[in-house]
Symmetry: C2
Subunit: 204 residues, 2 copies
């Protein structure tokens, strides 16, 4: 797929077909992630393929708990229609997506990494770029992903028993999309929020 | 360009030709950035085109100061050859790249944004995805970018006089690449660090 077509086609997908994701598709997407830029060539991205039913169920429970808190926040705004709309949105596919991939950033063990002097968050931004590469590659191959961040990250980390130096960025639900949401972001398609026509650019 | 070719060709570029970057190239790249995923459809990316010689000179000074600190850190490791190599690396093109674009994340003014309950850093990760889209689009169009984070971010923000709610992610040097670094990351090409062959993936 041409780059521009791929950028346009990529969606944050919450509705998947049950079709399995071939390992070669996943490997190609992970190889794309590994081509991302990284601060000081740190390559800090780490992936955990969540396969056990027990772990999936636990992560779904984490989502439910966080979502309940979020729902309360929305309800507090006293707009009933908006609260109902929020309640109706499908914001994850933890149990129904064929592949679940938790994503982490490993803090470097080396004393010095070029480029992190501004802030160590640069390392997490490298991982975000890797996620975007992975997402584009899945789109290019006819698959999709949804990034779930409505989770208690500390509990996610504990459950998956990863090294202490790994910081979580979230959980990706991966599979074949059941819909393209009429070629719009799902939240726009479902009336939650509109896109802005263009990015804000100042001159200085 | 096909997606995969574009992912492979993208480089963190520090060496540019003096050729100007046509506005339409930049606009297309900014439109690509605006197609990035964003948590809760927040679209938090903000760009500042740094055009005045005064601002460029100030940002170069910020870089020089931060780099000096970094050089001291490397020197403290007492490996002279490594310290010399670090000193020799060109890590920015603030005064020589035809376009300079500072990138920020605006914290939302709305009370509630879907998906930030795990951590407000999700907003910055959306901006990192936008930067990756912009970078890929520039690559696709025959241009390139280098992400500079060796800067005091607070001073960068102050100098560019942006709203309080904008958090800096760095400064992009943009132009036509003078080299492809032998199709490798520059830091690998110059012997600073090797790439790892593949990403780390655990199963749980």
């Amino acid at each position: 797929m041409e780059l521009e077509e791929c950028l346009k086609a990529r969606r944050d997908t919450r509705h998947f077909l049950p079709d399995p994701v071939p390992q070669q598709v996943l490997n190609k997407a992970l190889a794309a992630a590994h081509m991302a830029p990284s601060v000081g060539l740190s390559e800090p991205w780490r992936f955990v393929s969540v396969e056990s039913a027990e772990n999936r169920t636990f992560i779904k429970k984490l989502f439910n708990e966080a979502r309940q808190k979020a729902q309360k926040q929305v309800a507090d705004e006293q707009d009933e229609a908006r609260s109902d709309l929020h309640q109706s949105l499908k914001l994850e596919a933890i149990l129904d997506a064929p592949v679940g991939l938790a994503v982490f950033c490993e803090l470097p063990s080396e004393n010095y990494t070029i480029g992190v002097i501004g802030t160590p968050q640069t390392l997490m931004w490298s991982v975000a770029c890797a996620i975007q590469n992975l997402w584009l590659s899945l789109t290019d191959q006819g698959y999709g992903a949804g990034w779930v961040s409505i989770l208690d990250f500390e509990q996610l980390k504990k459950e998956l028993d990863v090294p202490e130096a790994w910081l979580p960025l979230g959980y990706l639900c991966i599979g074949k999309p059941a819909t393209d949401y009429d070629k719009k972001p799902m939240l726009q398609n479902q009336g939650w929020k509109q896109r802005t026509p263009e990015p804000i650019v100042l001159k200085r």
